[in-house]
């Protein structure tokens, strides 16, 4: 415990009571902080689920090139069925957790997409806001087993 400092002889007079204006800012900031905490909680829970889905896809991703693009596409369909059997539900709402790449411009949030590219199959995941996730970074930092 630090020693208490001395009051200066010419210290400022005691502060006056807090006005309504600063009080309103404190109340609004507190409410905003609580809203942010609720938002964060909901996002973390969903994001955790997407990260597990992505981790499973990355763990089971074929490492070697396929003999042909057609074979890669066929494998991707089979692989999708296996992944869907493990995690059928999209954590952000209705729809599947995994999809094959399609011509759609915008994919639903919390989705892991399998993308046949020539003789390979790439993976791209989309987070709770539908933004593309950094798949390489996710691969380096798998999610914890449990929250």
């Amino acid at each position: 415990m630090r020693p208490a400092a001395h009051m200066p002889a010419n210290a400022a007079p005691p502060p006056r009571r807090m006005g309504r204006f600063p009080l309103a800012i404190i109340i609004l900031t507190t409410l905003y902080g609580l809203w942010a905490a609720v938002l964060s909680y909901r996002v973390v829970v969903k994001q955790q689920a997407v990260r597990h889905h992505l981790e499973l896809a990355l763990r089971t991703q074929p490492r070697h090139p396929f003999a042909s693009a057609r074979q890669a596409r066929r494998y991707a369909r089979e692989w999708l069925r296996r992944l869907e059997a493990r995690y059928p539900q999209n954590p952000c709402g209705a729809g599947p957790a995994y999809r094959l790449a399609s011509g759609r411009r915008r994919l639903p949030a919390c989705t892991v997409v399998l993308i046949p590219q020539g003789h390979h199959i790439a993976i791209q995941a989309y987070d709770t806001q539908g933004q593309a996730m950094d798949t390489v970074f996710e691969g380096l930092n798998p999610p914890p087993r449990h929250l």
């Binding site: 600063p22 902080g33 942010a36 390489v136």
Partner: protein, 272 residues
Amino acid sequence: MLPYPHINPVGFHIGPIPIHWYGLLEIISFVIGTLWLIRRGRRPQWDWTKEQVLDLEYYLSVGAIAGGRAGYILWYDLPYYIGHPLDMLKVWDGGMSFHGGLIGVILGCWAYGRKQGRSTMKVLDFVAPAAPIGLGLGRLANFINDQLFGRVSHLPWAIIFPAGGPQPRQPSQIYEFLLEGVLLLVILVVYGRRPRPAGAVGSLFVVCYGLFRFLVEFTREPDIQLGFVWGRLDMGQILSIPMILAGLALLYWAYRGGFETPGSAHPGEGAS
């Protein structure tokens, strides 16, 4: 692309104890900030004794650590800490939030001000210009520690951070060092040279930090457990929005004289 400098996170050893750059830079910033505040406090417009400055730093340190930790738990990883409540105490494992720390510091200013009969905003005005020293050096420490790096980028100055995988990334810690450290320090020192209304310097700190952090977050890799939380905004930006708005409101209030103490001999107090 620039090479990552690979600075050893351990600066040196004292006997068997490794001294990490992170801790060392925090101690250096604390010492520099304290010495500066002691020097500033001697000026007649401030009238702070050395003992008062050291007493205040105790309040601020407790506020910053408790607030920073509480903010991280609440805003960044609450589901984990609900499942592992004892881990909330493991501050050494990392996990501090600037926004929580700021609230803790403001509460520290309030508690100290109550004890000493000083207004919270005037205490904040006194300490605010010293804060960028710690903030800036903290970001340098993040860079040395290979953490809190930026998003994947192919800009000429992008860096391959070892912990970030093989892709080049924005050196967002350096942007933060330059904005939240160097530029913010210059702004507060220059602005504070002239007498300003009570609360103005502290409010300007809140506005500028919020703005700089909001901008830099566009280049920073979002926290992995969260990702983006609102469209393309991450949690750092969500928490910086009220800082900018509340800071502007407080600045307006300061210029209206809302934080002046009746009968105060020093309506405007400067920073240097």
